[in-house]
Structures are given as C-alpha cells and as structure tokens.
C-alpha cells in the first residue's frame, strides 16, 4: 500500500510541476530605444477564411512603422489551443480571441498579462477607447486586454413587410414590439407559424440570455462579484414573465401553451444562422435581433432585401434607455510567457489604436471600430443600416454583461433553465432561478 502511495504522490508532484507555466517579469523600466534586433512576432487569432486574409493585410503598416519586426499571423486558433500553448510554455507573442466571456479567467489567472505596467510606463492614453469598450476588456483590476473591433446588437426589420402592414416606424418599446410582431405574423391554415413577426426564444440566433437581459438591465452578480444575483434581482423575473406573455400574446392568441408549441415547431425549422437560409434573410421572420455583421451578410447574399435597422426595443418602464443594446467583441492581449513582450506591446498598441487599421477592418469585416478617432473617421464606410450600430455602441447605457471568473458557464446554466421555461416544461420561475444561482455560486467557489 505504501509503495502505491509513493508512486501516486510522485506522479502527482510531477503533474503539478507540469502545469500552468511560470510568471512574467513585466516590462523593462523604460521602453527600448535605438536600433533593435530583427524579431518575428507570432500572432494567433480566431479569424478564418476571407476575414483572416483581410486581417493579415493590417501587419504591413506595422512593419513599415517598425522595420525590424515582422508578424507571422496564424488564424483559426481558439482559446483552448492558446491556453494549451501557455501551459506548455510555448505561447505566441500576441493573441486574439472572440470569446469575450473568458476574460474573467484570463485576467484573474494572469494567463493574459496585465497591461497596466506598460500603460503606466509609456503613459498610454486609455481615453482613446470609449468607456464601454474599456469596461469589457478588464476584470478584477487587471487590464489584460484591449478591444479590437466590437459587435453591437439591434433590431433588423423588413421594410417591405412593414409597408404592407402599414407600419411606419420600428417599435421602441417591448409592448410596441408585441403589437408589430402580431401584425406581421402569418399563420398557416393548420395554425402553424408561416412567418414570424419576431422570435423571442432564447437560443434563436443571437437572441440569448445575455442579449435579452441587457435590455432589462438584469444584474448577473452582486456588486462585489462574489455571488450570483439571478435569484435576487427582480429584473430576471420581469424578463422571463414578459417572455411568456409575449409568446402567448403574439403566437398563442392569449394562450401560452399554444404559442409555445407553435413557436417550438417554427424554431425547429430555422435556417442556418450564417448562411443564406437565415430566417430574416429568407423572409421567414419579419424582424430579428442581430449584430452589425448581418449587414455584410445581407449585402453579400440578398443585396435586394429592403431592410432597416434600429436599436432594439426596451421594456416600457425603461423607455428612456431606448438606443442602448449589448455591445462587446474581439479582444487582443499578450499571453503569459510571450517571448518578445516589448515588441508584442508595440503590436498591441498598433492593432488597438491605429485608425487606418481599424477603419480598414470595420469596412471589410463589418464590425464596429473601437476608438473614438476611428468612429469619427471620414473613411469609415457607413450605410444607414450600419450607422444604427455605431450609435448603439456609443449609447451611454450600452454594455456587456458582468464578467466573472467562470467564463460563459453562467450563461450556459441560465440558458438551460430558459429553454425549459419558454417551452412550458417548467413553471417554477423563482425556484428555477434560485437553482441557477446556486449552481453559479458553486462554480464561482471553484474558480
């Protein structure tokens, strides 16, 4: 028995020694000056295909500014591979992630280096970023990332369908949304939904617990971030009760179960989100909640679609907040163990703040640029539909949900409950939310 214990303990020690990599020493006291050695920076990011090719163009300008530095960009890399490389002690120099929810884990663990020492040493002006963009790139006092383009979420509506129904303006409140949705919904003779006014089911394209709860300003965590607020903040109950009323009103002629059954069948037949079969693009849905990138998909796949965009309607008692929405997008940072930290810091600044770069990417991949200067650039190609999202991004109440050290696990847990709630498979709202909160608290304790 003792022998086995020794074997197990030995392996455990080896296992422990092989994890998590080391600590970083931080930047030099002063920024390097004078002639520099040639350096090739490894840049890992999540872009793929056409967007990766466009992304790779931005490094030419950087090399012009810093002739000794070239950038080798690798696309299609997710957070999992980045973390594995950090743990293996062989990370790239700069990383880019689409998974904004992981920032709590990146910052608290130091897997992405805190940029504050660099910012303070070089007196880097954080005022270049709108406040909202800064807020979602830091956590727990660590500014471990910079924003690099962002998404904003709003309402897409089919103008031809609005005209046919005699609707002049997009709805501004949720009760107006229900009225318009009812007008635009078309039922088949067998009672099934042929065309949906708008689908407000959690999990339908970009309609999820994060985007919807932003409208209600529902709080995910207590102020100190140590426990879930899902069972405390009444906004959650309001949101879920509104959802059932909406389903009953628009799709069930007042009866929730009828509406839920019809909607479940409709959602089961949805077209793929990122293809020309998208329900809004095919006219299967008259309105939809979506991000600004949809304007590029529509221009590419259904250029004749006559559509408009607007901020998403807000709850009636929050009508003053109209214009806000969820924002949040791509983040860039320097991983722990980056071999060329000083050069990586230069690249990070360039990517995050170079106006030409941001405008080029915004015009091509159709994301919202993330500096004040780029937002005001005359070179920014702004269509009326895209302009809406620039406005949403700059609205003072637009925000991303609170980060936490458990990544997207909070959304996963709540989405599981929401799926059962919206189909009528559970009726215990308060009990369900309490259980979700308890699960999130358990995970927080382990983070």
């Amino acid at each position: 028995m003792k022998r086995w214990l020794i074997v197990v303990a030995t392996f455990a020690l080896v296992a422990a020694a092989c994890t998590a990599g080391g600590e970083d020493e931080g930047p030099a006291e002063t920024a390097p000056t004078g002639p520099q050695e040639p350096v090739t920076l490894e840049m890992w990011g999540a872009w793929t295909g056409r967007e990766l090719r466009q992304f790779n163009q931005i490094f030419d300008g950087f090399t012009e500014e810093h002739p000794n530095i070239t950038v080798n960009s690798t696309g299609g890399v997710g957070d999992r591979q980045i973390i594995q490389a950090i743990n293996a002690g062989e990370p790239p120099d700069v990383v880019l992630s689409f998974s904004l929810d992981n920032i709590g884990q990146f910052c608290t663990s130091g897997a992405w280096q805190d940029l504050t020492p660099f910012i303070e040493r070089d007196e880097f002006d954080l005022g270049q970023f709108p406040d909202a963009a800064l807020s979602y790139t830091s956590f727990g006092g660590s500014q471990c990332a910079f924003p690099f383009l962002t998404d904003a979420y709003g309402l897409y509506y089919n103008v031809d369908m609005f005209d046919e129904a005699g609707i002049a303006e997009p709805p501004r409140t949720l009760s107006e949304l229900a009225d318009v949705a009812r007008e635009l919904t078309v039922f088949a003779p067998d009672g099934s939904i042929e065309r949906a006014g708008i689908v407000m089911s959690i999990g339908y394209y970009e309609t999820n617990v994060a985007t919807v709860s932003t409208l209600f300003d529902a709080q995910w965590y207590s102020e100190d971030g140590t426990e879930s607020a899902i069972d405390d903040d009444p906004a959650w109950v309001t949101m879920f009760e509104w959802q059932r009323e909406f389903i009953a009103d628009v799709y069930g002629e007042g009866d929730f179960e009828t509406g839920a059954a019809r909607l479940e069948e409709f959602v089961a037949g949805q077209g793929d989100e990122f293809s020309s079969a998208n329900d809004f693009q095919t006219g299967r849905a008259a309105m939809n909640m979506d991000g600004e990138w949809r304007t590029a998909f529509i221009a590419d796949e259904v250029p004749d679609l006559n559509y408009g965009t607007a901020p998403f309607p807000v709850p009636d008692d929050r009508a003053d907040s109209y214009g806000m929405g969820q924002i949040g997008g791509t983040i860039i940072g320097i991983p722990r163990g980056s071999p060329n930290t000083e050069e990586a810091w230069l690249l990070l600044q360039y990517m995050a703040t170079n106006t030409d770069t941001l405008v080029y990417m915004a015009n091509n991949v159709r994301n919202v640029p993330t500096t004040v200067e780029a937002l005001e650039s005359p070179e920014l190609d702004v269509t009326p539909q895209f302009e809406t999202f620039l406005q949403i991004f700059q609205h003072p109440e637009s925000h991303y949900k609170q980060h936490s050290p458990i990544g997207s696990a909070d959304q996963t847990t709540l989405a599981d409950f929401a799926a059962r709630w919206q189909t009528g498979r559970t009726d215990d709202l308060e009990g369900g939310l309490a259980q979700v909160a308890q699960q999130i608290d358990d995970q927080l304790a382990q983070a």
Partner: protein, 296 residues
C-alpha cells in the same frame, strides 16, 4: 525497461494517476492545481443537476440503444445468410454506412431529420401524419434520432454476428430438424446459444461505447443549437439538455469552462461506472454465454 513498460507507464499510468490527483484539486488549466480534497466529488454528487441529467441521458441511450443494436444486428446478419447469390454485394451494402465518418454521418442525419424540409418528415406528411416529430429539435425525440443513426451504422456489429451465425455447425440444425423443431425453436435453442459469445462481446463493447458517446451527439447538438463548432457550445446538449451525455459534459467542463479538476473527477466517476457495469456483465455472462467445447 521494455518498450511496453515504458509506454504503459508514461502513456497510460501517468495520465491516469495525474487525473486522479487533479480530481482532488481546484484546477482551471490557467493556474496551478490547489488541493481541495473530495470537494469535486461532493459537488457533483450532491449539487450538480447537470451531472445527474448526463447520467440519465447516458443510461437511457445505453438501455435502449445497445439491445436494439444487438437485435437489429442479429436480424440483419441473419437476413444476409439467406441469399444464395450476390451475398457479398449485400454484405458490402449493409456494411458501408459503418465506415462513414461519425461527424459526417451525424450531419447527414441532421438534414434527413430536419423537421421542416427533411425527407423523413416530408414522407410522414405525405402519408397523412400532419404533426410529425421534431426529431433532433425536440427533447422527447432527439435521442431516438441518435438511436436510428446508430442502427443505420450497424455494419460493424452485423459483420461479427454474421461470422457467428455462419460458424454455427450445420449438424446442430439437422439434428433439430430430425427432432421436429420449429424455426423459432431452432433459433432459440441452437442459434442463440451458439452466438451468445458474440452477443456478449457486442454487449460489453456497446455499453463501453455508450458511456463514451460523444461525436454524433456533439455534432448534432451544435447543429440543432445553430452554433458553430468554433464558437463552442453554450448549447451543448441541446435541445433542452436532452443530448447532454456524460462525455459531452466532461468535455464541456474541462475544455470550455476550463474546470479541469472537476472534469477529472467526472472522468474517474465515468471510469468507475464503466468498470462496474463491465464487471457485472462479465459476472452474469456465466449464466447465459455458452462457449463451444467449454466444460461448463
């Protein structure tokens, strides 16, 4: 040290002991492991409804899927013993689906079972069923879709049953004929006992694979949720957790939530359950598995 010993120590024993250690730690992949005793096990057994949901789904798919695969496999193999001509062609045709990559097969079935424009529901509507199932999109029917996908790819099991059936000595059937046995009696008292070792093998392998079911359910759930694989899955197990199987939950915890300590505990629970089930099957096999030439 022989190569086998080296391979065993570093590729099997070391990872196993490491995960055993990690299962008693708080380990997020991003920080060093921190010893927390049995907390992970306490949490998953007492406070994690997703764990129990994953157990229920996994046991369901094993309890329904494995017997159906054996029955369907034996039946298909028996059918393939009948043709006098072209038997090789038929065997090839029935075997072909099993060599399709699991992810590709799962995606094909997502299309086939699409509630709106999939051919299955088109046919069902054509024959007068106005309200056909939602298949992968309905929590009550999603697992049945996976079962049918499994039966479609029955070729691997079928080929083993076929070998077993062809191996039954013909004199046993002749003797049964002389005794006036009916077709069912011959199947029940000659064929089944003679192929029972093959059935036992399929049962054990089916149960082990059932606990490890991942690829098909992962691909289907992401397709149903409309989420790309690159985005990862907030919706793994969609619809409504009906396809949250044990291996999927383990993957989600370890590589998406980065709770590697918790995932290690899940892995050891999975290992223990699989071992218990396998040992139980081996124990019961003494009563119903017959080996030719065995003394018992």
């Amino acid at each position: 040290m022989s190569p086998w010993i080296a391979g065993f120590l570093f590729l099997i024993l070391y990872p196993m002991v490491s995960t055993l250690y990690f299962s008693f730690t708080k380990y997020t992949l991003l920080t060093s492991p921190e010893w927390i005793g049995t907390e992970n096990y306490r949490l998953l057994f007492t406070r994690d409804p997703f764990f129990w949901q994953a157990i229920r789904n996994t046991l369901w798919i094993i309890a329904i899927g494995v017997p159906l695969r054996i029955i369907f496999g034996v039946f298909t193999a028996w059918l393939l013993t009948l043709p006098r001509r072209g038997s090789r062609v038929y065997r090839t045709i029935y075997f072909l689906p099993s060599i399709a990559p699991p992810a590709a097969a799962a995606l094909a079935f997502v299309v086939v079972f699409n509630p709106r424009f999939g051919p299955v529901n088109q046919i069902l509507r054509g024959i007068g069923i106005d309200d056909p199932p939602l298949w992968f999109h309905g929590p009550g029917t999603s697992k049945w879709g996976l079962i049918i996908l499994g039966l479609w790819g029955i070729g691997d099991a079928m080929i083993i049953f076929l070998a077993g059936l062809l191996d039954v000595p013909s004199q046993l059937y002749e003797a049964a004929d002389i005794e006036g046995a009916s077709g069912w009696q011959k199947f029940r008292h000659v064929t089944l006992p003679m192929i029972s070792p093959v059935i036992f093998f399929s049962l054990v392998i089916g149960v082990i694979y059932g606990f490890q079911l991942f690829t098909q359910a992962y691909v289907v759930a992401l397709s149903v949720a409309g989420t790309s694989i690159a985005e990862g899955g907030q919706n793994l197990g969609a619809p409504e957790g009906s396809m949250l199987f044990f291996s999927i939950y383990l993957f989600q915890q370890g590589f998406q939530a980065f709770r590697m300590g918790y995932a290690a505990a899940l892995a050891w629970v999975l290992f223990a359950i699989t071992m218990i089930c396998t040992l139980a099957l081996i124990k019961t096999s003494r009563r119903w598995v017959h080996y030719q030439g065995a003394l018992r």
